[in-house]
């Protein structure tokens, strides 16, 4: 009774980026610590996209690299640091010294989550209890207030965020883009539903029957997905629960690289421009996969019978 594939959504990363990310687009590569798709970011850098509006809660190393590579015109975010390890220095150089110039639009995490929630629900705004007493509304005219029609209370409101394209990394997906995720879920579902186009990048391409065997795990339905890219290790140095660990050593190592523009250029030259794709990126780092491969901690099963 299963529906066969009607379109060929499964494409290479190169083709997915070429078709779905254009100069000037509003681009989201989401994933809160977990499942950040560095492979997609590197391909965007290689294809020399320009004037992007990059949105993410945590710009993380992924957008620090894209800012350094000159892809970004604007950054929309809520926490710009290298957690536990230091700063995002390409971001800081841009904001502190205009090197290169970068427009910023800043919220709290909850504000960014709410902007994606509104976008996914096709609402123009989302109400929140926040920002009272903070200076964030003076720094961002898109943080406003809305009047409750029942209590008369004044609540905070943020506008919907509807990106041109959202890239989501997942543990497994079928050829139609029905995608399953476990572990940290972040704001990927909301970002994907809010987006004009969705690219799913998956650690593993599975048969539709695997998805149908556990439908409660599906985070993103294939009907909203435009392209499926099969890219094992595509999230490194971020992690994929059950596949590989976070490369904390690389996050710590980023601090001195990011601080020194020459080192950062050398990093991009070697690990981004110097490789054709993620397979070559992995081949450059021979011990990596053995060091980070996940141990086994299997879940139980549940019964979907009736």
């Amino acid at each position: 009774m299963n529906a066969p594939a009607t379109t060929a959504k499964v494409v290479s990363m190169r083709d997915a980026i070429a078709a779905n990310v254009h100069d000037g687009d509003t681009v989201v590569i989401e994933g809160f610590t977990h499942l950040i798709c560095f492979a997609a970011a590197h391909e965007i850098i290689r294809q020399r996209r320009r004037d992007l509006t990059l949105c993410r809660l945590t710009p993380d190393l992924v957008y620090d690299q894209m800012i350094a590579a000159g892809c970004a015109r604007k950054l929309v975010f809520s926490w710009a640091g290298n957690p536990g390890a230091g700063s995002l220095h390409a971001f800081r150089r841009a904001v502190e010294r205009g090197d290169p110039p970068l427009e910023i639009e800043e919220y709290s995490h909850f504000g960014m989550v709410s902007r994606f929630s509104a976008g996914a629900a096709r609402l123009p705004f989302w109400p929140m209890r926040s920002y009272a007493g903070t200076d964030l509304p003076t720094a961002n005219a898109n943080i406003r207030t809305v009047l409750c029609p029942f209590t008369g209370e004044r609540l905070a409101a943020v506008p919907a965020l509807n990106p041109d394209v959202t890239i989501v990394h997942v543990q497994r997906a079928d050829a139609q883009g029905n995608a399953q995720v476990w572990g940290l879920l972040g704001v990927q579902k909301e970002a994907a539903f809010a987006s004009q186009r969705v690219v799913v990048v998956t650690e593993e391409l599975v048969d539709e029957s695997v998805i149908r065997g556990d439908p409660n795990r599906t985070l993103i339905p294939g009907m909203i997905v435009d392209a499926v890219v099969v890219e094992p290790w595509g999230a490194h140095p971020s992690f994929a629960q059950g596949h590989y660990d976070r490369d904390n050593d690389f996050y710590v190592a980023w601090e001195p690289i990011s601080r020194d523009p020459a080192k950062l250029r050398a990093y991009l030259a070697e690990f981004v421009f110097g490789v054709a794709d993620r397979a070559e990126y992995c081949a450059l780092q021979p011990g990596l996969q053995d060091r980070l491969r996940a141990t086994e901690r299997m879940s139980g099963r549940v019964n979907y019978g009736f």
Partner: protein
């Protein structure tokens, strides 16, 4: 051509033919469910069925009695919360076709599933909206299914549960609705369609056993007809066989 068939069988076949392969359909229980599963077995194997209970891409192995039957879950592509169904899928504009029925459907395609009589002192209390109000507002198009009678097709419904093309004088555009609303009304005698421009239901196609005057007698307003009336083919033997042996073998909904 098929053998003898019931009005419900005819309606299920006609409704199935309204669906195009690959569409995303918000499925109600009863005839719409029969129609969707018939279409899936025939010309539209890639329909994605969504039920308001949260089952997406359902492949029911048996005919569900309710919209939340366990067979809609087992083997589906996704199960999500009802908040996601209504916010992300329906309000989010991801639904191409919605099926709706009702105790009353009026000249403008407004539907009443709330009360016959006044709201405060109803003659008959009906179930209410459920998901219908939002299906009518947000699905890219809706298909209505109802038995034809003057009581069921009044000039104006007693209560607008689900908006059609003109609500108390206001158009869908004025009301800010994104979906294009009811396009087709499938009855046991004929197909009505919404007229471009006016938003009024008009007679579009007759069934083999129906006449134009017979249809008019069963509608509570001066029903106009399309300039050229189509005629609808009876159920094929294959359609009937599927309905009777596979889709509703216990004749729960095919009375």
């Amino acid at each position: 051509m098929g053998s003898e068939y019931s009005p419900q069988e005819m309606m299920a076949c006609v409704a199935a033919r309204e669906l195009r392969d690959g569409e995303v359909v918000f499925v109600g229980i009863g005839l719409p469910n029969l129609a969707c599963n018939l279409a899936r077995a025939l010309h539209a194997p890639n329909l994605t069925l969504i039920y308001e209970s949260g089952a997406v891409g359902a492949v029911p192995e048996r005919l569900p009695l309710s919209i939340g039957d366990p067979t809609l879950v087992t083997g589906s592509l996704m199960v999500c919360s009802m908040a996601d169904v209504f916010q992300c899928f329906l309000q989010g504009g991801r639904i191409e076709v919605g099926f709706l029925g009702g105790a009353q459907i009026d000249r403008w395609g407004n539907i009443n599933t709330t009360v016959i009589g006044s709201y405060d002192k109803p003659q008959v209390r009906l179930p209410g909206s459920g998901g219908a109000a939002e299906i009518a507002a947000h699905a890219k198009r809706t298909v209505l299914v109802s038995m034809l009678s003057p009581r069921a097709f009044p000039e104006a419904v007693d209560f607008i549960t689900s908006p059609g093309h003109k609500c108390r004088g206001k158009s869908r555009t004025e009301l800010g609705m994104s979906g294009s609303g009811p396009v087709t009304v499938i009855t046991d005698h004929a197909i009505l369609e919404v007229e471009e421009g006016t938003g009024e239901l008009v007679l579009a196609a007759l069934y083999p056993t129906s006449t134009e005057s017979g249809v008019r007698e069963r509608v509570g307003w001066e029903l106009r007809s399309n300039p050229s009336l189509a005629s609808v083919a009876a159920p094929t033997a294959h359609e009937l066989e599927l309905l009777r042996t596979v889709i509703d073998p216990n004749r729960r909904f095919l009375a």
